[in-house]
């Protein structure tokens, strides 16, 4: 890491450049875990966040899945909410205005069950003031193609991005699912199709069984695992994506502490999203931001940007590091 002189007491610079967006810090909140922001206003100053990603929005309101919708598992939880949301019209009329008044970038997470839905949704959001970017959730079934999930096939994923790209001038973030064999292929396909940025990962496909009733613990049978349990998977996915494409990447998955967040930045992610941890501690994002600041002070680094992408995969062991220095290996 670059060592800059940093007088004690100086506030380290946490701001990051994320594609066209300048964020005051890299800590965003993940879609579906922060409502529309207002749910958390008693617990933190929303304007301290790097950005807010709102609950996924669809063209029409969706009621969501029957309960039970959630179950706790080891260091995580599985959810099958079924993308319940108020629909884009109600969102624009009654949820967005409050966020527009705040000094914080708002990213709108969108999803559809057909390409047309994605396109119409993007067109409706295009040009609306106070929206910094769209995040495209491609972890949804394509109802016209037998329910196969858009995000698991490079061609289908690319087509979603293409139709959204044509419908709006807003910066686009494509949110990748980890439930694929080669996440790098999907990353490449969506970037080639016009995605400005990527975020990864969405939840990991999972299920839980109740031995007393012999039933699945979720009415939907399967759901998505999130929380600390998935952080190692998310780190690996982020690295694979970073090796494949050169656009800005946002790391998501199991982030609950400043250390977790910094791990993604060291890998090369330019920002992070905090999800499930908001449920456990509604002001966790503030604590993560403050922890990052402390880390920079201790490490005497003036700008957080200087930490990004500093992962050293050459020298994995301390002794190897010494060996590197001694023998001047590449």
């Amino acid at each position: 890491m670059a060592q800059n002189s940093n007088a004690p007491g100086d506030t380290p610079d946490l701001s990051v450049q994320l594609g066209p967006l300048r964020l005051r810090n890299p800590v965003m909140v993940a879609s579906g875990t922060f409502g529309y922001g207002e749910e958390y206003e008693d617990f933190l100053d929303l304007e301290r966040l790097g950005a807010i990603v709102v609950k996924g929005i669809s063209l029409r309101p969706r009621p969501g899945n029957p309960p039970p919708r959630i179950v706790e598992t080891a260091a995580g939880m599985i959810n099958a909410i079924g993308l319940e949301n108020v629909g884009v019209d109600v969102f624009l009329k009654s949820k967005l205005p409050h966020l527009q008044r705040l000094q914080v970038p708002v990213v709108v997470n969108i999803f559809g069950n057909t390409l047309e839905e994605y396109a119409q949704l993007a067109a409706k959001l295009d040009g609306v003031p106070g929206i910094a970017a769209l995040e495209i959730n491609i972890s949804c079934p394509n109802v016209k193609e037998g329910g196969m999930v858009f995000g698991t096939d490079p061609l289908m994923a690319a087509r979603v991005v293409q139709v959204v790209r044509r419908a709006t001038a807003l910066p686009l973030i494509t949110k990748l699912t980890p439930n694929v064999t080669r996440i790098g292929d999907i990353a490449r396909a969506t970037v080639d199709a016009g995605s400005d940025m990527l975020s990864c990962i969405n939840t990991v496909a999972a299920m839980a069984v109740d031995i007393f009733s012999r039933r699945p613990k979720l009415a939907n049978v399967m759901g998505g695992l999130s929380g600390p349990a998935i952080k190692p998977i998310a780190l690996r996915c982020t690295l694979e994506v970073l090796r494949e494409v050169h656009c800005p990447v946002i790391g998501i998955g199991g982030i609950a502490t400043p250390t977790d967040a910094l791990e993604f930045l060291v890998l090369g992610a330019r920002a992070v999203q905090v999800g499930t941890a908001n449920f456990v501690n509604p002001s966790v994002t503030t604590e993560i931001i403050e922890g990052m600041e402390r880390f920079l002070r201790v490490e005497k680094i003036a700008r957080l940007e200087d930490c990004i992408g500093t992962l050293d995969t050459q020298c994995l062991f301390p002794f190897a590091e010494i060996a590197c220095e001694l023998t001047d290996l590449p």
Binding site: Y40, P66, I70, A75, N79, I211, V280
Partner: protein, 289 residues
């Protein structure tokens, strides 16, 4: 306003079979809380268990700055909670949800139904109702239908007699009061004694609530049912705590309400009871120890 407060345990005692009473020194939350609301308790640091656990306020004492929860040990979270000694620190969030409404019907009779640990949010409410009319010299008939699996699960309610609350006991095994379901006792007693209550308050397992709701709807009794569901956030953010509900604007459509923000107290007519899938039966506690 919702508050996250670091509180300390004033005391913890075992009051009945697998049932603990926890007193917390929570000055800020106690001043904001209403009966029927709940709080989310982080039973322990770290990731096991990961999520907070919801508990109703059992008693709220704003003057002393103390709140109490009464809970049953049913799994990992409640087991860890039962290990907290006086002085232990806990992080809690509250008050959450809507709470009970007091009846608007003068001295007409009030009925309450409690199943097992469902007594938790009811005790102070009943005491309040009993004392409410005292200054005017009037009295109100209050009937509590209190059911449990077996007699040792009942919470000692010393005050019931002095307050003039009629308790109708029932147990599954007949060890105290009526043998069988408390909702059966409710139906029979109400029919026999021709009581016309102006409201029924109820808290207990969803299977019990279903029968209370049906009885209330059939007899036109306004109801306030404290319902439960699994919760991740308690704040209206995760949408995990949904219950199938009736959309008054479009009764045929699939619709959900959320226990943490629309409830936990609901009217019987708001819920689509036939669509409710109850929680898996509570597993025997020995599996956890």
């Amino acid at each position: 306003m919702k508050i996250m407060e670091d509180v300390s345990v004033v005391s913890q005692e075992k009051v009945a079979f697998q049932t603990h009473l926890l007193r917390l020194s929570a000055g800020r939350i106690s001043r904001e809380a209403r009966l029927g609301q709940f709080l989310m308790v982080q039973v322990r640091d770290g990731t096991d268990p990961l999520l907070r656990r919801p508990f109703s306020f059992h008693r709220i004492d704003a003057e002393q700055g103390v709140v109490e929860i009464l809970y049953r040990v049913v799994g990992r979270g409640t087991w860890w909670l039962s290990q907290c000694d006086s002085g232990a620190r806990l992080r809690i969030i509250g008050p959450l949800g809507n709470g009970f409404q007091l009846p608007q019907c003068g001295p007409a009779p009030v009925v309450a139904v409690a199943g097992g640990i469902g007594i938790a949010p009811m005790m102070q409410l009943l005491e309040k109702l009993a004392q409410w009319l005292a200054p005017s010299g009037k009295t109100r008939e209050i009937h509590l239908f209190y059911g449990a699996r077996t007699a040792e699960e009942f919470i000692p309610g010393k005050a019931f007699d002095t307050l003039g609350i009629t308790v109708h006991w029932s147990t599954d095994d007949g060890s105290r009061g009526h043998e069988g379901f408390v909702t059966r006792l409710l139906e029979d007693t109400m029919r026999r004694e021709k009581i016309k209550p102006c409201v029924v308050y109820s808290c207990g397992p969803l299977a019990m609530q279903y029968h209370v709701a049906r009885w209330a709807l059939e007899n036109g009794v306004p109801s306030q049912l404290s319902l439960e569901s699994l919760m991740a956030c308690g704040l209206g953010a995760c949408l995990g705590c949904a219950l199938p509900a009736v959309n008054p604007a479009a009764p045929q459509e699939e619709h959900y309400l959320h226990v943490c923000k629309d409830g936990p107290v609901f009217k019987a007519e708001m819920i689509q009871w036939h669509k409710i899938q109850t929680h898996p039966a509570t597993p025997p506690i020995f599996l956890f120890s």
